[in-house]
């Protein structure tokens, strides 16, 4: 029963990922593409949950759905005339590009995905991995943890300086 639900959830999430990813490429309005990309990120977070990588799922939602999406939406809204009806999203070589992408997929990606001997880890999933991560973060990795704060500070100050120059 639980197995069936997991499979069902996986196929549903995969469908959302594929459809929204296609929408990102094919939609005419670049703002709609960005919204579709958020849906893609969210469904990928769901797949992480299915893989019992809860922390990765949380990070996916926080960083990709939160931060990256916001940056992209801002970039779109700050750009001149990018969402105009007249703005083109493809050029004359769209068919050729699709053919090349399809050929590469059939020649490289698909055979590798099909034939490779994927190693499946026999290790059990660590229960409460996030708690373990939190413990390690402030004991073993206390220094990198504080250095990360300094790195974020540098990024913040740098971003403000660069944004104010323009």
């Amino acid at each position: 029963m639980a197995e069936t639900v997991t499979y069902g959830a996986f196929f549903l999430l995969s469908a959302v990922v594929l459809i929204s990813a296609l929408a990102v490429v094919l939609l005419r309005n670049v703002l709609h593409s960005a919204l579709a990309l958020i849906a893609t990120f969210f469904a990928v977070a769901g797949i992480y949950v299915l893989l019992e990588a809860e922390f990765l799922a949380a990070v996916q939602v926080l960083i990709y759905v939160g931060a990256v999406a916001v940056l992209m939406l801002f970039a779109i809204m700050l750009t001149q005339r990018i969402v105009d009806r007249g703005a083109r999203v493809t050029n004359e070589q769209v068919l050729l590009a699709a053919l090349v992408a399809l050929a590469l997929f059939a020649a490289v990606l698909a055979p590798v995905a099909w034939n490779a001997a994927w190693n499946v880890s026999q290790e059990p999933v660590i229960p409460e991995a996030i708690r373990e991560l939190g413990l390690q973060l402030v004991t073993t990795y206390a220094l990198p943890f504080e250095v990360a704060a300094v790195l974020l500070l540098v990024a913040l100050v740098g971003a403000i300086i660069m944004a104010r120059e323009t």
Binding site: A2, L62, M77, G134, V138, T139, L156, A159
Partner: protein, 124 residues
Amino acid sequence: MLQAYVFIAILLIASLVFAVTPLLMAFVIRPKRPNPVKNATYECGLEFESFPEEARPVWVPFRVQYYVYALVFVIFDIETVFLYPWAVAYSQLGLYALAEMFLFVAILVFGLAYAWRKGALEWV
């Protein structure tokens, strides 16, 4: 462990149904008699045609200064990623870990103070 996420899935589906059902119902039962006046663009009862010329384009680019908000948001979003595992493990951690997190947050508060001081948070 995955069972706990079934409730999130149910909540997600329920929220979707909750949002889509009224839209669908309105689409099905509403009378469809469009006329030019009904189809006209308006905002808060004002007709689009009465707008001044400079207010006509609606897809105007935002001011670049707003991008600073996004950048500050991203930094504190990443801070949350570090806070999260710390908060989960909090009950097993001592005073030392609390002090470490205070230092972590203090370093970033310094950045927030810098942003404030430089007027990056001012409404422009």
